[in-house]
């Protein structure tokens, strides 16, 4: 509660300081009233700035177009002085806010156009730029098991369904399913258990429509552990059917 009221006090103080600052800024009389009247161009300038398109991939071009009135000096940040209206092609490396300032006898005004640059373009067109290995790793996940069983858990069912769907959309990919066990228990038994786990994962994929001849199964038992700590977290990491790209 004490901390709370301290925060409240601080907030109140800040608000009042801001109010005082705001008041002092407003104190000088408006410039227009003190400036000599200039008959022909006293209207405030106007400005418009557009970018087309507003979302691009890195390396793509954007067309900036602008239009102003009642302005004598027009500039765009990063480009410099420009005519009162015009069109310019730019290639921003990253997302950019183009800021146009138009100044004239009637005052100053500005306009902004934001361009969003998506990177890397690989996300948009993955097959062209991502290696098959990376894509495989990004989409195919391992199925994990409870200790001393090879039953497919519900979370593993979800994972295997997604894996099957990826494999269905990439018919040229072949896969190795490795059967792994945690460090507990005996090597020979774990080798057979790893075989059961990898076969269970394979059967799930085959049931989901993946051709059996695209799947190679190797049990590693406890011979090739992913991690070696004697903790439940590590043991769970090791109790899995692990997927790798077959070559």
């Amino acid at each position: 509660m004490i901390a709370h009221s301290r925060i409240l006090t601080a907030v109140v103080l800040l608000v009042s300081l801001a109010a005082i600052a705001g008041c002092s800024k407003k104190a000088p009389p408006p410039a227009a009233e003190t400036a000599p009247a200039a008959a022909p161009m006293t209207e405030a300038p106007t400005a418009q700035l557009t970018a087309t398109p507003t979302v691009i991939s890195a390396g793509d071009q954007v067309v900036l177009s602008w239009r102003t009135s009642n302005a004598t000096t027009i500039s765009i940040d990063g480009i410099g002085d420009v005519p009162s209206s015009g069109v310019k092609t730019v290639t921003p490396a990253g997302s950019t806010s183009y800021h146009l300032v138009a100044a004239g006898p009637g005052g100053t005004t500005d306009a902004t156009a934001r361009v969003t640059v998506n990177s890397p373009p690989a996300v948009v067109v993955p097959t062209n730029t991502m290696s098959a290995e990376d894509e495989f790793k990004a989409h195919v996940r391992d199925a994990f098991f409870d200790y001393d069983t090879y039953d497919i858990r519900s979370d593993a069912q979800t994972v295997l369904a997604a894996d099957a769907s990826f494999l269905a959309s990439h018919p040229d990919i072949k896969v190795v399913i490795g059967g792994y066990c945690d460090e507990r228990g005996s090597n020979e038994y774990n080798l057979a258990l790893g075989q059961n786990r990898a076969d269970a994962a394979k059967n799930a994929l085959v049931t989901a429509g993946v051709a059996a001849n695209r799947i190679r199964v190797v049990s590693y038992g406890k011979e090739k552990p992913f991690c070696s700590e004697s903790t439940e977290e590590c043991w769970q990491q090791n109790r899995r059917a692990g997927f790798t790209l077959d070559r």
Binding site: D148, R184, E188, Y189, L191, A192, Q195, V218, Y220
Partner: protein
């Protein structure tokens, strides 16, 4: 417990009085003999001035002493209690000196060793210290190339003669060997060593992962499992031909592993997943006549033949969840569950056919790491005894052919080494000290 001993009074020797009063450990084993013979091993007499002699004599004396000490049937007179003499022949021994306190020896082994021109000659006698009229029990003479390995071999042979003569006609094991897996070269390869841990060297150099070595009963072939691109294959190495020989039944993709030899060397059983689930399969040693023995869900691995009958196989099955040990007839019939719970693996059938040694964690489960200990179960009564206690995680027991010794792997922390012991759990001895060493398999002779 008591009924267990009544059923097998000749085989199971409780050194009970001491352990039972202090803790709940009971010692058992086979062929360990009720009364240990008190025997003395005199240092042999050097008979030559050859500079090689002292070093070779030291190896010989130490090896003979260790062999007799570890045999499991002797009460060996300690060096400090033995007379400080080296009788080199029957004429030089003063038997009453050995029969009297503090040695109190019933038997004395003694003899001489000499080297000459790259050869070594050993004469050994075994005398009955209490029979001054006809004391000679045994006399042996050996002639071999001079060298440490020969000195060890001759000592092993002489020890085995004594053990055979005094140990109820059961052959000694001093010339047997132990096959095992070592990763000391970087990959898991098959290695072999003498039964006492001496003379360790690699058998395979495959550069992959090799496991589960099993030597054939005649020592001519080694079966083991090895990882390749399509899974695990049973491979065969011939020591007669010094190369790998075909075993077509052992290659089928998937997991083909944990081979076992029948005692006559004519059959090989192993686990294979070729039909889907890992099951026990049986074939001739050539790989022909392959057929499946089991059809149970879950892992089925680690067969071991009854070496006495050749008509039964024990193995490990996960058909009910955690692995349990079962037996069946060699045609797959008459399946019997042997263990009643926990995590039971790696059975090894005793040479007399009556006992199984195996690794058992009776409290296995999540959050209950328990302890994997070597147990021995009597197949007729299902009575069992725990052999290792409170020391690491113990697995892969393998009986020595004398039925008195068991070799096994012990993991402490992340380190696995090979140990041997008497089948009652006493005289535990670490045999390997370099790298990680596992899955020992004691040769049949």
């Amino acid at each position: 417990m008591k009924s267990f001993f009544r059923v097998f009074p000749l085989f199971l020797i409780p050194f009970a009085a001491l352990p039972l009063s202090a803790q709940d450990w009971v010692h058992t084993g086979t062929n360990l003999g009720a009364d240990r013979i008190r025997i003395a091993a005199a240092d042999f007499k050097p008979l030559s001035a050859d500079p090689q002699t002292p070093a070779l004599k030291a190896v010989f004396d130490a090896t003979l002493y260790a062999d007799l000490s570890g045999a499991g049937i002797f009460d060996l007179v300690s060096k400090s209690m033995a007379p400080q003499v080296t009788p080199g022949s029957p004429q030089e021994i003063n038997l009453p000196q050995w029969a009297a306190a503090p040695a109190n020896a019933a038997m004395v082994a003694f003899g001489s060793l000499s080297t000459d021109n790259g050869r070594m000659f050993v004469s050994g006698w075994l005398f009955d210290a209490r029979n001054t009229v006809t004391p000679q029990v045994l006399v042996k003479q050996y002639n071999d190339t001079a060298g440490e390995e020969s000195a060890r071999t001759i000592a092993h042979r002489f020890a085995d003669e004594i053990i055979l003569r005094l140990g109820g006609g059961i052959n000694g094991i001093a010339e047997t060997r132990i096959y095992f897996i070592s990763s000391r070269s970087g990959t898991k390869e098959v290695w072999v060593m003498d039964y006492d841990g001496q003379n360790q060297h690699a058998v395979t150099h495959l550069g992959t992962i090799s496991i589960s070595p099993r030597i054939s009963p005649d020592n001519s072939r080694l079966a083991f499992a090895s990882l390749d691109r399509d899974g695990w294959d049973i491979r065969m190495y011939s020591f007669d031909l010094n190369r790998y020989v075909a075993f077509p039944a052992g290659t089928a993709g998937g997991s083909n592993q944990s081979p076992a030899w029948s005692a006559d060397g004519s059959k090989v059983a192993f686990s294979s997943s070729r039909s889907g689930n890992p099951e026990i399969w049986l074939s001739d040693a050539s790989g022909s006549n392959l057929h499946k023995l089991t059809a149970f869900k879950g892992p089925n691995v680690a067969p071991t033949f009854n070496p006495r009958t050749g008509a039964q196989i024990a193995w490990v099955s996960g058909r009910t969840g955690l692995p349990q040990i079962y037996t069946m007839d060699i045609d797959g019939s008459n399946v019997q569950r042997i263990t009643d719970g926990g995590y039971a693996v790696s059975p090894s059938w005793s040479p007399n056919g009556q006992l199984l040694a195996f690794s058992w964690n009776r409290k296995y489960g999540p959050g209950d790491p328990g302890g994997d200990d070597i147990h021995v179960i009597d197949l007729a009564s299902k009575d069992y005894l725990q052999i290792t206690h409170e020391s690491g995680s113990n697995d892969f027991p393998s009986w020595a052919p004398d039925g008195r010794h068991i070799v096994f792997q012990r993991t402490i922390g992340s380190h696995t080494e090979i140990w041997s012991m008497l089948a009652d759990g006493t005289q535990q001895q670490q045999l390997t000290h370099t790298g990680n060493n596992s899955m020992p398999n004691w040769s049949w002779k």
